[in-house]
């Protein structure tokens, strides 16, 4: 089995916020069980943009810590398997239309389907929209 990390989980691994520790515990448990960790290439710019928002818009993260978080993000990024958006683009668009989700959400669902992995997300909207047809696990339910 594989666990596909949504951006919401990836970010929780590099900063301290609600349910960060729970996310880490679940990720480590998956690794211990021999599961592969995956994500979609889209998660990197999304995660960086989230750090930028914390630092520059909401100002709840000092800029130097945002930079260090980005370093740690890359450290983890280089160790997980990344699915290129190109490989799942058509299926993602189909899912976006059928489920009325953004293409950003749908890329993760298409990746989950292609790799027969469980999507692990903290994103309730994504989980609720997809749980009947996709293998999805919501952070707060674990």
């Amino acid at each position: 089995m594989s666990l596909l990390l949504d951006t919401s989980i990836v970010v929780k691994l590099v900063i301290e916020e609600p349910d960060s520790q729970r996310a880490r515990t679940r990720v480590k448990e998956a690794l211990k069980q021999g599961n592969t960790l995956l994500s979609v290439d889209e998660a990197l710019p999304e995660a960086l943009n989230t750090l930028w928002k914390h630092a520059k818009i909401h100002r709840d993260l000092p800029a130097e810590e945002a930079m260090r978080a980005a370093d740690d993000l890359l450290l983890l990024w280089d160790k997980i398997m990344i699915i290129p958006s190109r490989e799942i683009a058509i299926d993602a668009l189909r899912i976006a239309i059928e489920l009325e989700l953004s293409i950003y959400d749908s890329l993760f669902l298409a990746a989950s389907r292609k790799t027969t992995s469980t999507l692990y997300t903290a994103n309730t909207r994504l989980h609720e929209a997809s749980k009947d047809t996709f293998d999805s696990e919501l952070l707060r339910e674990t």
């Binding site: 691994l13 590099v14 900063i15 916020e17 880490r24 990720v27 690794l31 914390h54 909401h58 983890l76």
Partner: protein, 55 residues
């Protein structure tokens, strides 16, 4: 001593690589967690990501 060539099967090689990668990744998660203690934020990132995806 006679030099014996050991042929590892592809499955065993992949299994070992995967396990090593999992252990390294698990250790990296712990290392990052320690450094992340200095990065406590007030706003949940999931909300920020959601804003971007629905724009």
């Amino acid at each position: 001593m006679k030099n014996t060539k050991i042929e590892w099967s592809e499955e065993i090689r992949q299994f070992i690589e995967t396990r090593i990668n999992s252990i390294e990744l698990s250790e990296a998660v712990d290392e990052v967690a320690k450094r992340a203690e200095k990065r406590t934020t007030k706003i949940d990132s999931t909300k920020l990501i959601r804003e971007d995806r629905e724009r």
